[in-house]
Structures are given as C-alpha cells and as structure tokens.
C-alpha cells in the first residue's frame, strides 16, 4: 500500500536555539520510503541524526535568525502490514529476552510500571498468555479511558491516566506500556502517521514484545492498525517527541496528513 504522508510545522524563532524534529517515516522491512522531501523555510543547513535507538530518524537544526520557521516534510511510503497469528505470539521469558529489550521492562518518565504491579495483577494476572494479557489491557483501556482532547497535558503519565481515565492517544499508549511492563511484558512507545485519523494529526501507539518481535497495539481503536506509518519508537514520549525545542522557539501551528491512493485497502481493527 502506498501512503502519502505530510507534516508541516510552523515555529516562531525568538532567539538562538536548536530544534530537533522527529517526523521522518522510519525505514523498516515493512515500511519502505520510496520518496521524501524536506523543505525548511528560510533555508537552514540541517543535520540528519539517528538517535535513541539508532533507528529513529531525526533532524537537528541550529537556529540563529529570528522570525518564522516552516518545516514541510512529505513522503511516499510503501507499507505492508501482516497480521500475526496469535498462536505464534508466545511470551519470551525474561531469562531469554535479548539484552537490548530489557530496558523496555523498566519504568520510564510517563510509564511508572513499578507503581502498577498489584493493579495489573488484579486486572490481568489471571489471564493465560502474555498475548491475552495485552489484548485485555487494550480492551480495558478502550472501555475505561475516555478519549478527550484537552484533558491531559504534556506532563500526564500512566499513573494519572489509570485513575483519571481520560486522555489522548499518547496517554492511551503510555498506560498500555505501563500495564504491560508491570506484568513483565516488554513494551515500547511509537509515533505514527495515521490513515483515517479524524481530525488528522500525529498518532501514538505502543508495541509489546511477543513471539520474538514487536507487535503493534492501539488502545484508542480510532484507526485501522494497517494504516499506521511508523515514525519513531522509544521508552515513552520522552524518547519519541515530534519536536524537542532548546531555546526561545515558539510552536505556532501544525498540519499533518496521511493519505492513501488505493481502493483495495481493507481496514483492520484490533
């Protein structure tokens, strides 16, 4: 499936600073970027870096001139989503987890899994397999947490959302991650362009490590899981921010799109 993704970000530069953006589509075996363009107005020399896990594709801009700044990213992404057979999504015991997966068991800024052990045990501990647990977590979040713009903010964490039960995609993802880790299932955050998301925006989901690979889950159930174009992964939103701003640079506005020119798309929902 060929997806067209667009992100346009506008800032106001009021002083010298650095902007690190993470809007480039990831290049993976299931996601080929066949074409992409990045325009920065006014022109700035940019640096492409791979950070956090050596995989996320960031750009770093040193800003020295005040005034408006506009970043436009466009990509054509060939994306294949293959639904897994749940029977193959076995749990990897902690003693066999690849060492680089271990940090995805530990608590992080927005995913305080260390505080959710009893609660996760009470709600999901009786379930048989890790896969069943993750599916139950996704369903529990979807049922109990209200999708509500403006309720949470950039400091809201899973510890808040598990009780307050309202938030946006980011909060849903953080809570899913925290509950998985609390059950010793490795989990990580990722950001994506999302086909059919209304209104169009960046999206956030999570992955659990099952069957020896990272399997995608979206507790918001707002969009088809096979219409997600992955941008970046990390422990939580701290690792995979769309933008990290250093200096007096104000965010002004943003426009994001993810389109598909293919009449054969069959939406898959979890």
């Amino acid at each position: 499936m060929k997806f067209f993704t667009t992100a346009e970000l506008n800032y106001q530069v009021n002083g010298p600073g650095t902007l690190i953006l993470n809007v480039h589509a990831l290049r993976t075996s299931q996601q080929a970027v066949s074409s992409e363009t990045l325009i920065i107005e006014p022109y700035h020399k940019l640096e492409e870096i791979c950070a956090v896990n050596g995989e996320n594709r960031l750009i770093r801009l040193k800003l020295t001139e005040n005034g408006p700044l506009r970043i436009s990213y466009q990509a054509i992404v060939d994306h294949t989503y293959t639904a897994k057979n749940p029977a193959e999504l076995f749990e990897t015991p902690v003693d066999q987890l690849p060492p680089e997966i271990l940090p995805m068991l530990y608590p992080s800024r927005y995913c305080q899994s260390d505080k959710l052990g009893r609660l996760a045990g009470h709600l999901f501990g009786h379930l048989g397999s890790a896969y069943e647990k993750v599916v139950a977590i996704v369903d529990w979040i979807h049922t109990n947490v209200e999708y509500r713009s403006g309720f949470s903010n950039v400091e809201t964490s899973a510890y808040d959302t598990v009780t307050q039960q309202a938030g946006v995609c980011r909060d849903f993802a953080h809570l899913g991650i925290a509950l998985c880790r609390a059950l010793s299932i490795p989990a990580r955050y990722f950001t994506a362009y999302a086909y059919l998301l209304v209104p169009q925006d960046f999206h956030a989901c999570f992955e659990a490590y099952l069957g020896g690979e990272w399997i995608l889950f979206d507790a918001t159930k707002l969009v088809p899981i096979n219409g997600l174009i992955k941008i970046a992964s990390g422990r939580d939103a701290a690792d995979a921010s769309i933008a990290n701003i250093f200096g007096d640079i104000q965010f002004s506005s943003m426009a994001v799109r993810c389109d598909l020119d293919d009449s054969n798309f069959v939406p898959l929902y979890q």
Copy 2:
C-alpha cells in the same frame, strides 16, 4: 590505586524466576578490573550480558529451585581518578551533542526535568557556565536536602525530593540529574562501590556531560570522589538497579565493602 570491592547478596527463592544483577565493576580506561570472582550458592549457570548502554555488566540467573540463594562478588580494581581543570569543562551546545548523548537530556522515571524548568532557571539560570551551574546544583542539594535513611522509598523521584528535601544518595543523584537536564545539560545516573562510605553500602552519584566527557558529581559529599568504583550508568535508577527481580524471590540481606590497601590515598572532595 588498588581497591578491593565485595558484594554479598542473599535472597530467598520461593518460586521460579529470574534475577538480573548489576554488581560487576565497570571496565573503563580509568578503571581496570585486574581480578574478579563471582560465586553463586547453590550453583547456577549464569549468563553475562551487557545491557542498557552496552557497557553495564549484568548477570542473569534463571532460578528454578526454591531455597536460599547467595551471590558473592569480589574484585580487585585498579582505579585512576584525574581531577579535571574546570576551565576545560566547556558546555557542548545541543546542536553539537553526539546523538547518543541526547537521551540524557530527556526526562526519565525518577528525573522529571520537564517539570523543573522554571525552578532550575530561577535558582541557577543566572550563572555563567554549565560547569558553574552543575557545581551550584551540587551545593544547593547538599545544603538543602537532608541525608536521611528511611525517608524516601524506591518510588521517590526528583520531583518529590526537590520539595521534600530529604532522602538518600539515590535521591540526591536523581535531583542533580533532573536539575541539569532542566538546564539542557546532559546528565546520567551511576552506581558505585564507595571507599570510606559509612556505613558501607552501594552508592549512587551522577555525571554531567561537560568538556565532551562525563564528569562525576556527588551531591551527598559523603565520600571522596576519587574513591568511587563505578558499577553502572543509565538514565536513572531504573536503568542501573543493583538487582531486578522477576518472580517470587525475596531479598534477605546484603553486605558491601570497598577497601583500599594504599597509604598514599589523598581523599578529594568536591
């Protein structure tokens, strides 16, 4: 200087599980492990792994038999500490930071730097250099935070300590890290064996990225900075736990020592 470090940890295994221990002295250019022994009673096959940053030396034990478990680690470590000239400890602008350093600017489980921006600006923003800021942070913590066993717990974070102003070495380190990051100075956590620490225990400190390298700070000022034998580093204590326990394994007791057989030791305090 030749240091003798010892850690003995006792657990009670009540069911199958996995224990991941991080007590091995790090091998660095300034810290050579000339000899080390690890004894596990009863005998278990262990796996040595490097995790978090590819540098920390962990062992992973799959536990299948119930009963007491005893782990003894002993090492002789040749350690050189070279005090830096503050004049060389320049700040690396964010636009020039090596990409792998960037995550050490982001908030983490116990270091919510995103919430401390205004406070850090008010307290330290007026100071000239990054080095001066870090020194002032260390002094502020040392002056205002009471070293007090039992006040904090494993969930205590920098956001608590900055207000409640009491805690142990781990809390001092987390607060130092959070304040540095809030000022856009990369900072990380590390654990250590500590010569002259009374009572003998594992110690926790932090490092700030200055002059293009990681510079060690200890806001507790309890021990000479040149008597610290590094064990592990990470974003915070979540990355560098002495032990991560999966399964029904109870911690029983611990004994830690760090000795020095050298009459020429000149203690350096920050």
Copy 3:
C-alpha cells in the same frame, strides 16, 4: 457493652512546643464514657478543647521542659452498636443535605475525590442505591487492597492507594471516603479503639451519610464493627490525628488496648 480502653504515648521533649492529642473517647448517644483518667508525667497543666467539628475531644499541652513525657489515658466506655436495616439507609439527595454535611462531599488532603470521578463511575456507577455502592466500595477495597504495614506513609493518599493497592487502615479509610465522595455520597474519616485488633493499635474507619445519619464502614474487615470505640471524626486523617506536634518533640513509643469484660459479645462483621 463495657469496653476498657487504654492509650499510653511516650514522647521526648527536646525544646519548647505544643502537643495536641486526640485520644479521648467521644461522648455520643451510643457511646457513654462512664469513667476516664488522664495522667501526664511529669505533671503539666492541660487544656481540654473541642475542635474540628466541635465534637472531637482534644487536649492541648504547652511543653516548656525538656525530657521524657508520658501520657496515659484510660476509659470505661459503655457502647451500643445497633445494626441498621439496609432498607432504611436511603440516599439523601444533594439538594436536601444539611449544609454542615456538604464539606464531606468535597475533596480533602488525603481523599482527592475530584480525581476519582470516572473510575468510581466505572466501578460502582451501575449499582442501584447509595448503600449498595458503599458496600461495593468496601468489598472492592477489601479484595484489591493488600493490608500491609510499612508500605504507605503519612503522606499517602487515596490517589496513591487506588492504584498501588496496599496500605494500612488509614489508607483503606481514605480510599473508601474518596470513592464515596466521587459518587456524591458524603463520607468522613474516624479514628477508634478497636476490640480484637491484632496487634492492638489505634484503628481508622470511615462513615457514609446514609438514611440521614453517619453509618460506619471498615474496609479492612479486620475487627468486628460493634467493637469500635470512636475517638474522633473529620474530613480525613488531617482532621483527626492522634497527635499534632508543634516544636521539637519526638515520638518514642505507644501502647494501645481495647478490652471487653463481657462474655456475651457477638462479633459483627460487615
């Protein structure tokens, strides 16, 4: 039923200060104090005051001499507990609540009912009557929260306990109160001497306003509800502390007892 209650509290006075103690058994229509003695060693003039709700019986001591301080309180209390008929425990609509009850609907230091609205609605909103809701709250807490000494501390609140699911009687009471208020059921905290509590200690429970009066609930289910001798009520533990200390006065030790010389006692559990 005639109960014998005893509280002995020991302090170390290190400087001038004031101690406010709230250990006197309440005098109510169901609880008659037939005899009581208070001994303060060394002798201090004390002041008896009624505070918080004009009902709690406090004593206030001005301390000017350093050294050990010992307070012994003994009372014989005639106590009648009458189980209510659930059918009579109707809900009073907010528009008919006596004005002095209204504050018991509002959030307080340890009972952040304002943050628990959605969660309480999800767990208990479907139940028919206020009484059924309170019973379900008590059962939910009893099932999900582990009674565990040393897990929580004096700063722990219902917002913590609802997620972390461990604590002591005080935490159980706070959570019960917060969930009631989140459902617009007035609820308040109270402290008590508790017959058959093992080990003997002060106890904390809560009351919900049902059928036009305050009805007692104990989510710990540790003791018979008809063996509780009430000490003080308030919004939460902030209002009904056993002791409020002003100045450098250290708590040393405490011994509490509640005995009954009556072979006809039939324990009632909720």
Copy 4:
C-alpha cells in the same frame, strides 16, 4: 467605599441535578451589603444556606428542567479596608490559638503543608516574626511564580506550584497557604470580587492569622488589596468554590465585574 459587583453565570442543564453557588458577598463588620439582587432564569425556587464555616453565603438550586440556566447576581457593597500596623500583627502561639482556628494549620486538598516543612524552613525559617515570614512568602511567590492562564487546572495544588512555578490566582493563594501552615501559621483561602482586575474575573487570595485576626494577602499583587470584596473563605478552593455542580450541568460562560464610583479611591498594594 461603595463597590458594585456583578456576576452572571450561564449553564446548560442536561439532566436533573443540583447547583450550589457561592457568589454572594460576605456580610462582615468591614463589608456591608447595602443592596443585592439575584435573578435566576428560568425561575427556580432557591435555598439560601450558610456552609463550610457558617459564614459563607451559598445558594442551592435543584434543577429539574433541561435547558439554559442563567444566574445574575448584583450587589452594592460598602467596604472599608483598614491597613494594620505590622507591629500589632503578632504571632499567636499554637497553645493559645482558638480551637476553631486549628484546622487552618492542617494540610488540605490543595495545600499539602505537611510536605513543605523543610522547604519552608529553608526559605523562611530564619526570619524573625510570623508577619515577616508571611510577607517574605508573598514576595517569594510573586517573584518566582509566573502568572499564566491555562498552565494549571482544577487539580493543581501547592505541591505542584511550588516546583512548577506557574499558575493563576488560585494557585498563588494555595501556595501561600501551604507555606504559612508549614511554618505553623494558620492560613485560609478566600474568594473575592476584585476592583481593577484585568480582565475582570473572580479573584482568589489568602489570609494568615496574625495579631489575633485574619489578615489578607495577595501574592499575585495584581490588584489593590483595598479593592477586594470578599465572597467566601475556607481551607482551600475545595471549600470556597464559586460553583459546585452535581449532575449533568455544563458550565457555558461567565461575566464578572467589580466597579467603584468614587474618585477618592487610593489603591493600596502590598
């Protein structure tokens, strides 16, 4: 001075419920309400109650019909502000505080004074008198906390504001109260109509118990202290909400005014 105060509140009633409003100007020796009007459209029978401290003037409305609801309150208030001589604002020792004042020493929902003891001691403990401490608290808040709409929300408490250092009048008041109580100075919250507040809105301030009476402080320093028409006091905003809503009643809009027809007004700022 004759002040004209107006509050118009609009709600949308979507189901049966109860609305408790606290917009009436308080009647005190320094504040005489010479005339007042309350209009409720459509007409509802209302009940006037005094709650929290027996002094606040609330109205309670039982709402049974869906649709828009409009409440208009207008009052003419004769208000006298007398600046106190700081020399008379002595501290009342805890052993001499009237019992009804004691709860204003205890932590409350938004004023967790129990967590601020060390910090308050470090910042203000060295100052001589209680009055000097309160003045220093007001100045510290004014200097360090940024007045910023939209930063905080209804759940924000003093524990957040002391670190995050941004908020609105309510947050400034809560922090002032919490710091006073942490130093054993009784403090309470109050709401007011505020002459010269831009934009016009309800205002929140705090009072400290000094010289045997409640003395007014406003850490925002946004308005003259002698142009405040008091509405309600309490432990914190939980006690003195402008509106408490029970049921599905949505707030729509609000307009508040406080005018003065007197050319002799001399604004006093703290």
